[in-house]
């Protein structure tokens, strides 16, 4: 049974004139709120928000005088605690011009937010709590992270969407050109990767190692023949046929030879001339605006239609230069989805600052780290549990010293990760959980622990069957005789009477 305690240090800074009518104590003061997240019977997660309430400093006050929320947050950024996982909330007066009408919170791209003051402390608290959950973790994000690892956890609707936590990921961009006779496609992938993908990956480098490569595959076709629609004179791929699209393509993609990390595939598909234009339809039959779809834990596909030449006699192959900005926008959105960083399910009164070129805000990175840390620890627990089960099953298995030390290291690292989580040190907790995961995997996959190396006991018995069987014959016969005799003895007295 795992008991997680996740502590989030939150600094709540009151601008002048924003203090609620009923403060508990005079500022500054500390307040700790705990919340239970039910996962299942054996695992419980307690989230602990360590709130430090204080008033603004002179510098912060000056920064809050900025004209827009965006500028204010940018000016405040150098004044904050930069530790991963810690949040700073600036409470501004109810009439503050920084927040537009109807907006109660503005989340910056770093680890701070502006909150509109509420009249009373409980009202403010609930608003703060909602905001903290958005910026760190919610019950559903933690349950989703645990759903795969914790036995008999109930998977939620989108539990299986996010990528599994891993030490590294391989990102492969593939251009599928099924019709090289008609289309001579060029894509400036090298440039697009450095311009659009690399900033995001630099940001994510804290979470895992990433490697990017690309390839062009010719004559790679989708597994589904699209339907011709006379009205729009185009070809349609309906939502329910999309699952069948990937498999035949997958065979051509090839796995990465040199690493064992999971691969994220992003495919750019140029439909054949005889099948273009090709559009993807959603479940209701409406065309998908991006003309793309993604497959959880696998990657995404973008269909890129080539405009038909004006004159039918135009010479083939057509030279096509792919608009990489358009394509990469979709790929990056899909990448965010794969990591579970969608911005959809937010309350409408929250306004988020766009993360800019990096594609990812600091607090979103924190969200990822919270989820991955918990997931790593859960993975370590399951790995070590199954290792223990294996050892229980085979009594005479040999545990080498290096395997033992890996197990000890995994347990110690996992313990330290839990402690760090409880004290709110997200970064060191994540590092420790990564080490724990590495050590436990290394112990589990050690070649000396192969189940088949050990002779199963039932087969030992089979070898001795030639001994046991003939030996059992006289014993069984005499047993049968004894039973027969006792029965006769019982019957005999009744006969006499």
């Amino acid at each position: 049974a795992a008991q997680f305690q996740l502590s989030v240090p939150v600094a709540v800074v009151f601008a002048p004139g924003s203090l609620p009518r009923d403060p508990l104590r005079p500022l500054p003061f500390r307040d700790v709120r705990e919340m239970e997240i039910p996962v299942n019977v054996r695992t419980s997660v307690t989230s602990r928000y360590e709130m430090l309430y204080r008033s603004t400093t002179a510098q912060e006050e000056a920064a809050l005088d900025a004209a827009t929320a965006r500028e204010a947050v940018a000016a405040l950024h150098p004044l904050q605690d930069a530790a991963l996982g810690s949040l700073t909330m600036y409470v501004v007066p109810e009439t503050s011009p920084l927040l537009p009408q109807g907006i109660n919170a503005y989340v910056g791209k770093h680890r701070s937010a502006l909150v509109r003051a509420a009249g009373t402390l409980p009202a403010l608290r609930s608003r703060l709590q909602q905001l903290t959950q958005v910026m760190s973790f919610t019950a559903s994000s933690i349950t989703a992270a645990l759903s795969d690892r914790v036995p008999d956890g109930q998977p939620g609707p989108d539990a299986r969407r996010n990528l599994k936590s891993s030490l590294g990921y391989e990102i492969t961009f593939s251009l599928l050109n099924p019709d090289p006779k008609s289309h001579d496609v060029h894509w400036a992938i090298e440039d697009a990767v450095t311009r659009y993908v690399q900033p995001v990956l630099d940001k994510l480098s804290l979470v895992a190692n990433f490697s990017v490569d690309s390839q062009i595959l010719y004559y790679a076709v989708l597994g589904v023949t699209p339907r011709y629609d006379k009205e729009s004179s185009s070809f349609l791929l309906s939502a329910h046929s999309l699952p069948h699209v990937i498999n035949p393509v997958e065979a051509r993609l090839g796995s990465s030879a040199a690493s064992l990390y999971p691969v994220l595939n992003f495919l750019l598909y140029i439909p054949e001339r005889s099948h273009s234009p090709l559009y993807i339809q959603d479940k209701d039959g409406a065309p998908v605006s991006t003309n793309a779809f993604h497959s959880p834990r696998w990657g995404g596909i973008v269909v890129y239609n080539v405009e038909a030449p004006a004159s039918p006699q135009a010479s083939l192959p057509l030279h096509v230069d792919v608009d990489m900005a358009r394509v990469m926008e979709v790929f990056l959105a899909q990448l965010r989805l794969l990591f579970g960083l969608s911005r959809e399910e937010l309350p409408p009164e929250f306004l988020l600052e766009s993360p800019g070129n990096e594609g990812l805000a600091d607090w979103e990175l924190d969200r990822l780290l919270w989820a991955h840390t918990v997931e790593n620890i859960a993975t370590v627990a399951t790995t070590l549990t199954s290792l223990a089960q294996l050892l229980d099953k085979i009594g005479n298995i040999v545990i080498k010293d290096d395997v033992a030390s890996e197990v000890y290291r995994a347990v110690a690292s996992a313990q330290s990760a839990m402690d760090k989580l409880a004290t709110g040190h997200l970064h060191s907790a994540f590092q420790a959980s990564k080490e724990a995961a590495t050590s436990s995997e290394r112990a589990f996959f050690d070649p000396s622990l192969l189940h088949l190396l050990y002779f199963p006991d039932d087969q030992k018995f089979a070898i001795y069957v030639p001994l046991f069987l003939p030996m059992a014959v006289p014993i069984l016969l005499s047993l049968a005789k004894i039973i027969r005799e006792t029965r006769q003895k019982k019957k005999e007295p009744t006969k006499v009477d």
Partner: protein, 577 residues
């Protein structure tokens, strides 16, 4: 109008898609099929697909692939491979009947790799490489380990650009037991940019390819000069496939053949990504005076070259030439003999070899190799490489090399003795072959007893000893011109030619099958059964003796035995019992 369209088409084809991509990381594909009738009437088809990439792979910076397959590119970059040669072969190239092979390979799997000087732990990289390759090609290359890997010192020089040849960077292994089949062909075809969807690769239909006397597929990766000045490096991937079809038995006694008869397909187009796509048919006249054979349709051009010391004529079909598909939509090269050929003499190749095991019993034996030099007046040296598994213990003092009845002293010998369960024997020799001679090399061995877990499944099948390798510069009969590699056909340009007077030949002998003393593996179980039964019977009688109560029984009329005895006694006149 029609003329103009044709002109535009011509222009486009001249600047085919392969050449259109300019700038750094330029890559180009050439595909080629060589059809050569063999002296005994069989037909050899050699496919070559060459992808040339003007990029520096091992830097690791390049990760954007176009025509070069990503799987192999990553492998080369990640493991510091400088040169990689992998062949998977089913069958044996019969040099005496088929002549000198364009590309020979030993039966089974052969892998030899040169690593970059930056690789610190070559053995680890080699192990990892063979494991990954076994995954890519679905072959059992993961069985390559220290017991079948050797580091030859003279036989396998780098075929590509190389500065410095430190032999510690070379690894060579052969798995003679490997069986090659469709599951190895499919991943090989997947590495081709056009797959098997267009171009020459449409002929690669597994059911026909494996219905042949010989099938050999290979992957060669090597660095080459980017241009004549050789200031930059390009990487070359050559995928080759050689099949030998027995047309005589399948063609009702006629030696005529066509593409459709052999592959049950015809060619319809070139791979649109290829900058060159050609079919060569060897139409060299055997006797100078009369033309015996006829190819249809008429070839686009005729190419003459000196290949392997012989003047040869090839009919060339350029699939990128628009005139080829003008008359018919598909190309079905047909080959007819004008009149039945007088099957008199078969040209004997200048260098050929044979190998066999002799001796009787399961203790000792002898490996003999016969090397023939049939050149009428030129002697030349040959490097012989033998790798023998450790369980055949070679007696090196019995090594004898005899030419024309006299002992022939090799000018170079490199011998690395085997270590039990650690490494095989490696014997390399440079032997001078006099003109018109045969040389017999024999060495005796003793068979080792293996541990019972070391026997493979079906141990009575025998143990394979891999082919020995002969590398030689064979003197050419006709002088060869120095040709530009980029311009000449692919089948002439894998091995670098030293000079005009000789050409490089690498030959493989037959793999050997040796029986080792094999125990009766069911014996332990038999012994267990027997002892257990004896113990159980004894136990049963003891048990009965100990548990039964005995009491005296009244004599009765007696059983069947007693009655029989009484009848016999009656006959004998003795009183009954």
């Amino acid at each position: 109008g029609g003329m103009l369209a044709l002109a535009v088409l011509l222009l486009l084809l001249a600047a085919g898609p392969g050449r259109a991509a300019a700038g750094p990381g330029r890559d180009a594909l050439r595909e080629e099929l060589l059809l050569s009738p063999l002296p005994n009437g069989d037909v050899a088809a050699t496919f070559q697909f060459r992808t040339r990439w003007d990029a520096d792979l091992p830097r690791g910076a390049v990760s954007h692939y176009r025509l070069f397959p990503k799987a192999l590119g990553q492998l080369v970059a990640a493991l510091g491979v400088r040169e990689l040669h992998l062949t998977l072969t089913q069958g044996f190239w019969r040099t005496q009947a088929w002549g000198q092979p364009p590309l020979q390979a030993p039966s089974g799997a052969e892998l030899w790799v040169w690593f970059q000087p930056t690789v610190t732990d070559v053995d680890k990289a080699w192990k990892e490489l063979s494991n990954i390759l076994s995954g890519i090609f679905c072959a059992s290359l993961n069985f390559i380990d220290a017991t079948n890997t050797v580091t030859p010192t003279a036989s396998f020089k780098p075929l590509g650009l190389a500065n410095g040849t430190d032999h510690d960077l070379l690894r060579y292994a052969v798995l003679p037991r490997e069986v090659v089949c469709t599951e190895n062909l499919t991943p090989w075809k997947k590495l081709l940019p056009c797959g098997s969807k267009a171009g020459l690769a449409v002929l690669l239909k597994a059911e026909r390819l494996f219905h042949s006397s010989y099938h050999s597929q290979a992957v060669h990766i090597r660095p080459i000069c980017r241009d004549a000045s050789c200031l930059a490096v390009s990487w070359e991937l050559r995928q080759t496939l050689t099949v030998v079809f027995d047309t005589f038995s399948s063609g009702q006694g006629k030696k005529d053949w066509s593409l459709f008869k052999m592959f049950s397909r015809t060619l319809t187009d070139a791979c649109p990504l290829a900058s060159q796509s050609k079919v060569y048919v060897d139409i060299s006249p055997k006797n100078k005076e009369k033309e015996l054979l006829e190819v249809t349709p008429p070839p686009t051009s005729v190419y003459e070259a000196t290949v392997q010391g012989d003047k040869r004529t090839y009919a060339v079909y350029d699939l990128l030439s628009p005139s080829l598909f003008n008359t018919s939509r598909s190309l079905n090269v047909q080959f007819k003999w004008k009149r039945p050929e007088d099957s008199s003499e078969m040209p004997i190749p200048i260098l050929h070899a044979q190998r066999y095991v002799s001796g009787y019993g399961l203790q000792t034996g002898e490996i003999s190799t016969l090397i023939y030099n049939t050149h009428p007046y030129r002697a030349f040296p040959v490097i012989l490489l033998e790798t023998v598994p450790w369980y055949l213990r070679l007696y090196v003092h019995t090594l004898t090399i005899i030419t024309k009845g006299k002992e022939n002293k090799p000018s170079y010998i490199h011998y690395q003795p085997a270590q039990d369960r650690r490494r095989p024997h490696l014997l390399e020799m440079l032997i001078q072959l006099p003109a018109n001679s045969n040389t017999k090399i024999s060495i005796q061995f003793e068979r080792a007893l293996l541990k019972w877990t070391e026997y493979p499944p079906d141990p009575n099948h025998g143990f394979y000893v891999s082919s020995s390798v002969l590398s030689a510069l064979v003197p050419s009969i006709t002088a060869m011109k120095d040709v530009d590699v980029e311009e000449s056909p692919l089948f002439t340009s894998l091995f670098p030619s030293a000079d005009g007077s000789s050409y490089f030949v690498r030959l493989y002998t037959e793999p050997l099958l040796v029986n080792l003393p094999t125990p009766d593996f069911s014996m332990p179980y038999n012994v267990i059964c027997l002892t257990c039964t004896v113990v159980a019977v004894c136990y049963g009688s003891f048990y009965n003796l100990l548990t039964r109560t005995f009491h005296v029984e009244e004599p009765s009329r007696g059983g069947l035995a007693k009655r029989l005895a009484n009848i016999i006694r009656k006959f004998r006149g003795v009183p009954p019992l």
